[in-house]
């Protein structure tokens, strides 16, 4: 994950029109929604953890399917938190452990021959730590006889400084549950057999005990990481304190997260690139074929942060003073434009989701010459780009003419934003 916010550095000047009070309320809602989203992510990850414990203790097809269902459910609240990235250094520093993507999955486990071996970019693309309890990494002998959360986090993750060496987080777990999707642009997701976790002679593809150990360690780590982030947004948490410390910086963080996620990250890196490369691996959840939901809930997260209202997994609503209120107070037409564009994005992302759920999978949409698929995905890309323009207008509109835009910490000192 990129550790600098070089290009994201929105500077922002709070308008005098809605001084103190209101901005504080907006930021308070923003922090409350973050706390609720991370709590929901934690709850669903704990459910996943329980399902994985059952799978390892009693491997069966039904128990593998139950774990997969729990993983899919866990993605719903988590993707809605991604709008807290980019603007909040505490989230950004941490996010790489939890949702890093894309990954060279051959680092973790066996892969198909078509996957290839080490590449120019990554010597460890085919390391297969599950099959290799000891190996050499950058000249150092590594002992992986015991696969623990500490080992995954401290040694294997981003090994050799290569970001594609993703050893932890949702997508590593996804790979261990689904396996590679070898269907190319055809129907179907990864099809790992439950016997990859079977004991004794039933074990397929070898090292089932180590595979289970890896899956358990990665899931425990995910739960621990989410617990930590829930604390960051609690009443005394560091991320909340950072947001509440300075109204200008806080509002800027909100808009930075909304704009950077919409444009550079989801529209660019995750959606447009896949269409341009026609590569079925270029989808965010390529093992589970859940990419339509990844994009959908990312979009929903941006919308509910702007509107200041989040419906929790149990149905409770967390809401309060919103950025929408604040913008409406300065420029009602701009607020209407923003709302319309957020809705338009959700319609486009809904179209992708509905088509995928009816059988037109995201990797099928990516196939070269598939005009309908390209139109569906580019509809989402263009809607994200449109809404980013409105976010830029909001940044400009709520600023005060004549007040110099300040230089940004992240430009002058890239390290400063993470202190």
């Amino acid at each position: 994950m990129k550790k600098t916010l070089l290009t994201t550095a929105l500077t922002f000047v709070a308008p005098m029109a809605f001084a103190e009070g209101h901005a504080q309320d907006v930021l308070n809602t923003y922090a409350n929604i973050a706390e609720a989203k991370y709590q929901d992510s934690l709850i669903t990850a704990q459910t996943l953890q329980a399902a994985i414990d059952v799978l390892i203790a009693d491997p069966s097809e039904a128990n593998l399917n139950a774990a997969k269902s729990a993983w899919l459910a866990a993605r719903v609240p988590y993707q809605q938190t991604e709008v807290y990235r980019f603007g909040n250094a505490i989230v950004d520093d941490w996010e790489g452990k939890v949702n890093a993507w894309p990954l060279d999955e051959g680092l973790i486990d066996y892969v198909d021959a078509s996957y290839g071996g080490p590449t120019d970019e990554n010597e460890f693309a085919a390391l297969n730590v599950i099959a290799n309890p000891t190996f050499t990494l950058s000249g150092q002998d590594v002992d992986a006889t015991s696969i623990t959360p500490d080992f995954l986090e401290g040694q294997l993750h981003e090994a050799d400084g290569v970001e594609a060496n993703v050893a932890t987080g949702y997508h590593a777990i996804e790979f261990l549950l689904w396996g590679q999707d070898l269907n190319g642009h055809g129907t179907g997701a990864g099809d790992r057999a439950w016997t990859d976790y079977a004991m004794g002679d039933d074990c397929t593809n070898g090292n089932c005990d180590r595979r289970g150990e890896y899956l358990k360690a990665a899931t425990d780590l995910l739960v621990a990481d989410l617990e930590w982030m829930v604390g960051q947004w609690g009443q005394d948490g560091g991320a909340r304190a950072e947001i509440m410390a300075d109204e200008t910086a806080g509002l800027s963080a909100m808009l930075t997260g909304m704009g950077s996620l919409s444009y550079g990250e989801v529209a660019g890196e995750r959606m447009r690139l896949g269409v341009m490369l026609n590569d079925p691996e270029e989808e965010h959840s390529c093992f589970a074929d859940n990419t339509h939901n990844d994009h959908y809930y990312d979009g929903l997260g941006v919308q509910n942060v702007y509107l200041g209202s989040y419906t929790r997994i149990g149905g409770t609503v967390v809401s309060g003073a919103s950025m929408a209120d604040l913008v409406a107070g300065v420029d009602p037409a701009l607020d209407a434009e923003m709302r319309n564009r957020l809705s338009a994005t959700m319609r486009e992302l809904g179209d992708i989701k509905h088509a995928a759920e009816a059988g037109f999978a995201y990797d099928m949409m990516l196939q070269a010459g598939n005009a309908e698929g390209e139109d569906l995905i580019m509809g989402g890309v263009n809607a994200f780009i449109d809404q980013t323009r409105s976010i830029e207008r909001i940044v400009a509109a709520v600023g005060v003419d004549g007040i110099a835009i300040e230089g940004s910490d992240s430009l002058d000192d890239p390290e400063a934003v993470f202190q």
């Binding site: 290009t7 550095a9 120019d120 444009y263 550079g264 341009m276 490369l277 830029e392 300040e406 430009l411």
Partner: protein, 317 residues
Amino acid sequence: MKFVFAFMLAPTMAFADPRIDVALDTHILPRFAALTDATAALAAAESCEVEEEWNTAATAWIGVSHLRFGPTEIDNRAFALAFWPDPRGATPKSLAALLTDDAPAISDASVAGRGLYAMEFLLFDPAFANIEGRCDLIADIANDAHLTALAIQSDWEDRYDAVLRSTGNEIYRNDTEALQELYKALTTGLDFTSDMRLGRPLGTFDRPRPARAEMRRSGRSLDNVRVSLTSLEELALILAGEELMPDVEARFEKAIDQAGSVASVVGSADLSIVENVADRIKVEALQQRVVELRAFLSQDLGPELGVIEGFNSLDGD
């Protein structure tokens, strides 16, 4: 009466900010025209020994590579012309697939197998030197690249010139939004040069990554930095008011001089010198000059133009 009428109308009539006109007439339009000409020469070549034509086209591309809005973004034209960086190695894979295809439809292919960066592999990478079908594929990709460059240029001249010049439309509500687009092109261009063109090969002190340098196979890596800085300076000087101009010019010259100092090191063309501690310092200094320049523009030029920083495509991971 007539006079009063004209006077009353004046504030609502749209006169383009002169900087927008100058940017279009002396920077954007001529540079895209040059790209079309260079790719035309590349496509017209009658052999596959087109290293020189390719080099001219690559120079022309780098000179417009920061102008990533409007016509370059329709139908992913810029990506089809220049897909880089390529961290997953999609370019050689796409080329291998195209080489096994008897009649490859380049315009429908993955962007990784199209454009100037794919051609660089075919022209300069030993792995492709004697491969069957190489010559035909070079010609096909050259043709496709020319059509793409032409499409960008035509779109600028027939449509987007007016969009940017006569604001008050759906895309640019006013001149400030148009100036912001130009400012963003400038700053994103500098970010790209420091983070990608220099940052990728620099890697970390302990782990330099010379294989990640842009166009290292043809030895253009350092020259691309110089060409981009020269073009970005041209745009910056158009946007800078009289007061800022000397300072902007001095800072660009400082960076370009540093690029010259790197160029004096033997073997610096592909930036593989990032592996030698003594030489690496010079490349780091060059990157630092670009970062300082970027920060200066953010502090002084942005406010002068009355624009915000905005979002760009590098904002993701």
